[in-house]
């Protein structure tokens, strides 16, 4: 029983954090669609979950979790989860996948639109008749209005496609947990930004961070994030195991808790910043938008809460392990 990340897992996250600090600064969010993409590819990020025979590192999702949290903390744009986490469980023999030179978007059950589909070389789309692999050339995309300028949404239609003879479930579970991990990272950055602002911004002659009401709101954010994170870690362990009967319940509990914690962080960060938190001039807005967009991605909190409810009320009170 060691429910804590290993040095290796934390070292991977540190490497990713360094790359993102250098190549995905807030300024990049205004100018680039896929900042730091090549640099992440260089450190093997897109091959983390791929098997060695596909030039990957064959890691488990849990090994990549702290690194994925860092991509949320940095508000990294682009179809990162789709390419690095979902694609490995949807596509075989796409040699360039590990190298990051193939960009993938997906439209699976629980999604309404395909994120960043305009950047994708390949799309995997679930239809009633199965999973369709669609190439950039044969897809028609219709942009849809979204809340997140760095995570654009598209309606997808196509004529030519290749039917994939496999289930979307393993990929969807992992993409959902990876998104939950990103939400924790987004929330932690929102909390850090709110704390930093509260330390310097003064009102009525005192730092607003010295007001008890502000302190308690920020403390509640810290608590929500601190108790959502273990559910995300547990869900990753559940999907990594060959058979865990509670896996879907664990995945949904993680996504719901992470989404709600990140949304709370967004609301409080706005409260603490006041009107300025609103403006285009502050970078805060990118993290706010990401908290909202990822909270809705791969099923919103209410849908996942409901799945947990049905499972628990259905009588499944088993706890893993």
């Amino acid at each position: 029983m060691n429910f804590a990340f290993t040095d290796e897992q934390l070292a991977l996250a540190a490497t990713v954090r360094d790359v993102l600090r250098a190549h995905c600064p807030p300024a990049a969010l205004r100018s680039e669609r896929r900042p730091a993409w090549e640099q992440l590819a260089e450190i093997g990020f897109f091959g983390l979950l791929l098997p060695p025979d596909a030039d990957g590192l064959g890691l488990r999702l849990v090994d990549a979790l702290p690194a994925l949290e860092e991509t949320g903390r940095a508000c990294l744009p682009g179809p990162v989860v789709e390419t690095a986490v979902a694609a490995p469980y949807l596509l075989d023999d796409v040699p360039k996948l590990a190298s990051g030179s193939v960009c993938v978007s997906v439209l699976l059950p629980s999604q309404v639109y395909a994120p960043d589909a305009d950047l994708a070389d390949l799309l995997v789309v679930a239809r009633a008749d199965g999973l369709h692999l669609v190439s950039k050339e044969s897809v028609r995309l219709t942009p849809r209005p979204g809340v997140d300028p760095c995570r654009r949404l598209f309606d997808v239609s196509f004529d030519d496609s290749v039917l994939l003879d496999r289930s979307y479930v393993p990929a969807l579970r992992r993409a959902t947990v990876a998104t939950a991990a990103q939400l924790i990272g987004v929330g932690r950055q929102l909390l850090a930004a709110a704390v930093a602002h509260a330390q310097v911004r003064t009102q009525f002659g005192a730092a607003i961070g010295s007001f008890q009401a502000v302190k308690h709101q920020l403390a509640d954010v810290a608590i929500a994030l601190d108790f959502a994170a273990p559910l995300v870690h547990r869900a990753a362990l559940s999907v990594d195991e060959p058979v865990v009967p509670t896996v879907d319940r664990d995945v949904s509990a993680a996504k719901a808790a992470a989404g709600e914690a990140a949304e709370l962080a967004a609301r409080v960060a706005l409260q603490v910043h006041g009107a300025i938190g609103y403006t285009d001039e502050l970078d805060l807005r990118f993290w706010l938008a990401r908290a909202w967009s990822l909270s809705a991605a791969y099923g919103g909190s209410a849908v996942h809460r409901a799945r947990v409810r049905d499972s628990v009320i259905g009588g499944d009170l088993r706890r893993y392990p």
Binding site: P145, E263, A306
Partner: protein
């Protein structure tokens, strides 16, 4: 105690409902775009032509002497009809009550009719970079010159200022005392000595602007009340901003109705989803929890409406709302945020569509402006409940 509208009140409601049914335009472009701003001005002019833009005003200024109750009826009908947001809001709901209470007859004659017709659109200019909820910390100043004053300094979060013709706010005219040195000015925005710098919002549109004053001349005729009285006058305005004036229930009632319809659609969408590929994933029907929350909001909107009827009655019998208006501010701003947050959840990845996103961004500001809800709760605790400062 009763809840019975008089025959006159019912006739008024019928007239308003009928006129709106025939004139309300389909969705205008955002009032924070140049064309949207003009479209909203045109709408206000049409509204004024039916003397419906400021029903509670005296007739000579373009109103109908409507009672508070009639005004509440108008608001219910206006928002229920899906009519556009009020580009004249700062003027009609913030400046006008101040002009009525503290202005001269000349000032009222000069400014109110144009305000009602949206010939002149007003921006509020309360905040400064170093003074958020803390008005008394204002630094912009006005210096006496022959026949008037010259304004210097900076204002921020000035709503509507990107396109408005005039603005109003407080400037320091003497250094004696944080409060006593402030004077209430109205001023034009189209002269060279004031620079308007729009501030883009989350939606990329300039809902606010920064104002830079470099000796803007303001004649004495545009000073509201006596020099040095600005603080007292502004407190009266902001309390009306926090209280009944700014936040009639009509808007929340309409939002609550739309929210309930949205929740019902969502329920049926979940039913549909059972027959397609989503089946096993969406087996969890998100309906009940969201529906419960939607109905709770609907009931809270009703509570706010009833509470407002009681408050209106108190005001009509000459009482003051005073600090109790802080309770209303906290209640409506958090209700509005809950409603729009729930709408975002119900829409999920469709949240970018529809009027809900703009409303959500607007609602997020609710707990912040007109005095943050933290400050409102302090006011309630100290002035209503009598707890120590």
């Amino acid at each position: 105690m009763d809840l019975d509208f008089s025959a006159a009140e019912q006739d008024f409601r019928a007239e308003v409902r009928d006129w709106l049914a025939r004139h309300v335009p389909d969705g205008l472009p955002s009032m924070d775009t140049p064309e949207g701003f003009e479209a909203h001005r045109a709408w206000e002019a049409l509204l004024a032509s039916a003397r419906l833009s400021a029903v509670s005003w005296p007739e000579e200024y373009g109103g109908r002497n409507a009672s508070l109750i009639e005004w509440l009826i108008f608001e219910e009908e206006y928002w229920a009809a899906g009519a556009p947001g009020r580009v004249t809001q700062n003027g009609i709901f913030l400046l006008a009550p101040t002009l009525m209470a503290f202005g001269t007859e000349e000032q009222r004659r000069r400014w109110l009719p144009g305000m009602a017709k949206a010939d002149e659109v007003w921006a509020q200019a309360w905040s400064e970079p170093e003074a958020g909820s803390d008005l008394a910390a204002l630094k912009s100043r006005a210096t006496r010159v022959d026949g008037g004053w010259r304004l210097y300094g900076q204002k921020t979060w000035s709503s509507r200022a990107a396109y408005a013709s005039h603005g109003f706010g407080l400037f320091r005219t003497s250094e004696e005392g944080r409060h006593r040195g402030l004077t209430y000015f109205m001023f034009p925005l189209d002269l060279d000595e004031v620079t308007v710098r729009p501030i883009a919002q989350l939606d990329g549109l300039p809902g606010f602007a920064e104002l830079f004053f470099d000796g803007l001349f303001v004649p004495d005729s545009m000073v509201l009340g006596a020099p040095g009285e600005g603080w007292r006058i502004a407190m009266a305005t902001t309390s009306s901003e926090r209280g009944l004036a700014l936040r009639s229930p009509g808007r929340f009632l309409a939002t609550a109705d739309r929210l309930v319809h949205l929740a019902r659609d969502r329920l049926s969408r979940d039913d549909l989803s059972r027959d397609d590929v989503d089946r096993d994933f969406l087996a969890g029907d998100a309906g009940p929890e969201l529906v419960d929350r939607a109905v709770r909001c609907w009931t809270d909107a009703e509570a706010y409406r009833l509470h407002t009827f009681a408050t209106a009655r108190r005001l009509m019998s000459g009482a003051e709302i005073g600090s109790a208006s802080s309770m209303g501010k906290v209640f409506w701003s958090e209700l509005d945020l809950r409603m729009h947050t729930l709408a975002m959840e119900l829409l999920g990845e469709r949240a970018g569509e529809a009027p809900w996103l703009d409303g959500f961004l607007f609602a997020l500001a609710g707990p912040i402006y007109a005095g943050t809800n933290e400050i409102q709760r302090n006011i309630i605790a100290e002035r209503v409940l009598g707890l120590p400062r």
